[in-house]
């Protein structure tokens, strides 16, 4: 597949999968032409439900569909799905363990035009803390599309975190994805860069830059933040002795915190986290500029790698 905008890859994949699985219904909260759940709407108008700007109601209705054995994909802006509807998600999706799939679009700083009100930089932290919730962050459009059937056929609540735009392509055609299994995107033994979402591609660029300095970085993509691939992370720590995490999210409670927990319990090594450091981001001309300005530049990953390598030597 060409490197589509992640939302478009997702929207087309959901519509395609809807043909194969009549139990799938799609819900949206007046964002169907943004999340691109409207691909599904056009093909299956009877199985599409727009709840207007009322994300909590949409999530509760999705719970009802799930109770009846349907497979609801509830689409919304991540900022609202993971905040305004959080109590619904906690109580009625997670605690009641209903088979609801939350397709959370415009995550991270995707919505560069509108600024921090519509950024979602705490959603991984929030969703990861909820018992029963599986958290999946695809790195590019191809992965976003490939995850749709896997998530639909997975039994239990899923938070599926999607970017609006195209991200740097990291996946290979025809590769197999498995929920809960990390992917080694690049081999290396000097440092491990563990990344999710849009930061996977940036981590590959950082690894290229490090290679020109004679440093071999292993790049690991962790698309499933929970349950996290402990074994792969511990192997990377053992094999490199220094770890950097990279995420389009606050470093409080996100991928970095998840990896830190695994390392602290299993194999403590120097660790640096690349992400947003306890701040709100800002409006900008595109997501990339905001990421560059808010601590998520390729150079930030490179510098973090150099610092953990130095700490390893100390």
């Amino acid at each position: 597949m060409a490197n589509l905008a992640m939302r478009e890859a997702y929207g087309r994949a959901l519509a395609d999968y809807g043909a194969a699985n009549p139990r799938v219904v799609a819900l949206d909260a007046d964002t169907a032409s943004s999340t691109l759940s409207n691909f599904f709407e056009k093909r299956f108008p009877q199985r599409f439900f727009n709840f207007g700007i009322a994300e909590p109601c949409m999530i509760d209705a999705a719970v009802g569909f799930a109770l009846a054995g349907m497979v609801p994909f509830a689409n919304a802006f991540a900022a609202l799905a993971a905040l305004r509807a959080l109590e619904q998600v906690r109580t009625c999706v997670c605690y009641a363990r209903t088979n609801v799939k939350i397709a959370s679009s415009y995550a991270g700083v995707s919505d560069f035009k509108d600024g921090p009100t519509h950024h979602a930089i705490t959603d991984i932290a929030v969703m990861r803390s909820l018992p029963e919730m599986t958290v999946i962050v695809p790195a590019d459009g191809s992965e976003a599309a490939a995850f749709v059937p896997l998530i639909a056929e997975f039994d239990g609540p899923v938070y599926f975190r999607l970017n609006r735009a195209a991200t740097l392509q990291v996946s290979q055609p025809g590769e197999t994805l498995c929920i809960g299994k990390g992917i080694v995107r690049r081999q290396g033994q000097d440092v491990a860069i563990i990344a999710c979402g849009s930061m996977a591609g940036r981590s590959m660029q950082a690894a290229g830059s490090l290679a020109s300095q004679g440093i071999q970085a292993r790049v690991i993509e962790i698309h499933t933040i929970k349950p996290i691939d402990r074994d792969m992370i511990l192997q990377a720590a053992a094999g490199t002795g220094a770890v950097v995490t990279a995420e389009e999210h606050t470093v409080i409670g996100g991928l970095g915190s998840a990896v830190a927990g695994v390392l602290a319990a299993g194999r403590p090594v120097p660790l640096a986290m690349v992400g947003i450091h306890d701040a709100f981001a800002r409006t900008g001309p595109d997501p990339e500029s905001i990421m560059d300005a808010c601590g998520m530049a390729v150079a930030d990953i490179v510098n973090a790698a150099l610092s953990v390598i130095n700490r390893k030597k100390a």
Binding site: F51, A61, A68
Partner: protein, 279 residues
Amino acid sequence: MKSYDKSLIADLEAKANYLRRQSLAMIYHRQAGHPGGCLSAADIVAALYFNILRIDPARPVWEDRDRFILSKGHASALLYSALACRGYFPESDLEHWGELACHLQGHPDRLKTPGVDMTSGILGHGIAIGLGLSLAARLQKRDYHTYVLLGDGECQGGIVWEGINACAKFNPGNLTAIVDYNDVQLDGAVHDIMPMEPFADKWRAFRWEVINIGGHDMRAILSAIEEAKSIKQRPVVIIARTVKGKGVSFMENKAQWHGIPPDKEQYEAAIAELTGEGG
């Protein structure tokens, strides 16, 4: 109003009083729970579980069963009493409510207790969840009906009105809301804490059909539910005027009995009153 067989009504009234006594016994035994809202909703729940609902306790997850969502989940003792009496689990489980090894949670948990269609306890979710269930039934061409029981205080929350609004759009035709309108909440009278009147007009403004009844009149309850099922052009709410603490004189209309268990003397006095009413 349709005429009902006298013995049916007497039997359902006796069941309601039995559920009141069982709920109070549970709350007294555990020294925790919400007596006022169990007593106010007992007639409605008795009508549903012993006459209206198409259910089979031997098959708690039967796909074609009617669904009941206790949106006011703090009345869990009442629901548990009804489920046990219908045979979903032994009545002897009721005295273990709240113990670590017991399936009966403080608030209803669909994963632990057979017969509980949906987990509840945090107020406000029932209508929107019921809407999803109802729309799914329509897609699946199943003819089950979904009933949602909520409290009047619960209707102070915005999520309730999101659900009400969405029901008007989708009009599933197989969903009935029932409000246990007892005008008492934790901190005092609903009309003082956050007035909801004109309550029926608010539902009507959201394009619902409203049926007003006395919520302790068994004939009226049965008749209203039948009428509600026959109305297809709009979603229907039955607003049942009830008395918080109904049946126990010293608990009636008193906010302090929202979530406080009786002591021994109070419990015995309450049971004596409820037994005296012919239950």
